[in-house]
């Protein structure tokens, strides 16, 4: 497993669509890993990007508010377990549940599955809601 630096290149987006929503900030989000995506650079996703993917899924589900998603940011990753690398061609489903909220911080538990139903990765992330200026 290679730990590459995060590709801070615009647009830095994985999460494509909300597949199912089960209340505020909980549900399933789909993300296709494409060969042309800046995040994959034609190869497998770096392990750290699974945390980013869970965060993007969580913020997409957090009220479905695009502005909110833009203001929120990934503040922490913990207990990340990677089963296998995701490669271009994979279509990933990300299940997100809220572990807890306090102030502007929200902790989410996420599990990432491939199209066959095998778990690709799981972990917890913390996102912070930035406040509008």
């Amino acid at each position: 497993m290679t730990f590459q630096p995060l590709p801070h290149v615009f647009p830095f987006r994985f999460a494509d669509a909300v597949v199912a929503s089960a209340g505020r900030a909980e549900g399933r989000v789909r993300a296709a890993v494409t060969a042309g995506a800046q995040a994959s650079r034609g190869g497998p996703l770096a392990a750290t990007l699974y945390g980013e993917l869970i965060a993007q899924a969580a913020l997409l589900l957090e009220g479905g508010d695009a502005d909110l998603g833009r203001r929120g940011f990934l503040a922490g990753i913990s207990d990340l377990v990677v089963g296998r690398e995701a490669v271009p061609g994979d279509v990933l489903d990300v299940d997100v549940t809220v572990a807890g909220r306090f102030g502007d911080s929200v902790k989410f538990d996420g599990r990432i599955w491939d199209a066959s139903g095998a778990e690709v990765a799981r972990g917890s992330i913390v996102v912070r809601h930035g406040r509008a200026a």
Partner: protein, 88 residues
């Protein structure tokens, strides 16, 4: 539950929940948990969220909002007072 029974449990909770590399017994009862004060643990807002989750899991007590949390997490003594008050 007496204060003396509760303090070691709270210190264990802090170390376990935040994955700190310190001896729980070395945490001073009245030292500030947050900020950079001498003798404090230097915790931050993300740690506060983990503490909220830990207190809820360990004691079944919810920390309702940030204002309550700031007071409850001021120190081990303050957290013990908060837990005792909620459990009463």
């Amino acid at each position: 539950m007496s204060s003396e029974d509760l303090k070691p449990r709270v210190k264990e909770l802090i170390v376990r929940q935040l994955k700190l590399d310190v001896d729980p017994a070395s945490i001073k009862d009245d030292a500030p948990l947050f900020g950079d004060a001498d003798g404090g643990l230097g915790l931050d807002s993300i740690d506060a969220l983990e503490l909220v989750l830990g207190v809820e899991k360990e004691f079944g007590i919810k920390v309702q909002d940030e204002e309550v949390g700031v007071k409850a997490f001021a120190s081990v003594d303050a957290l013990c007072d908060f837990i005792r008050a909620k459990a009463a």
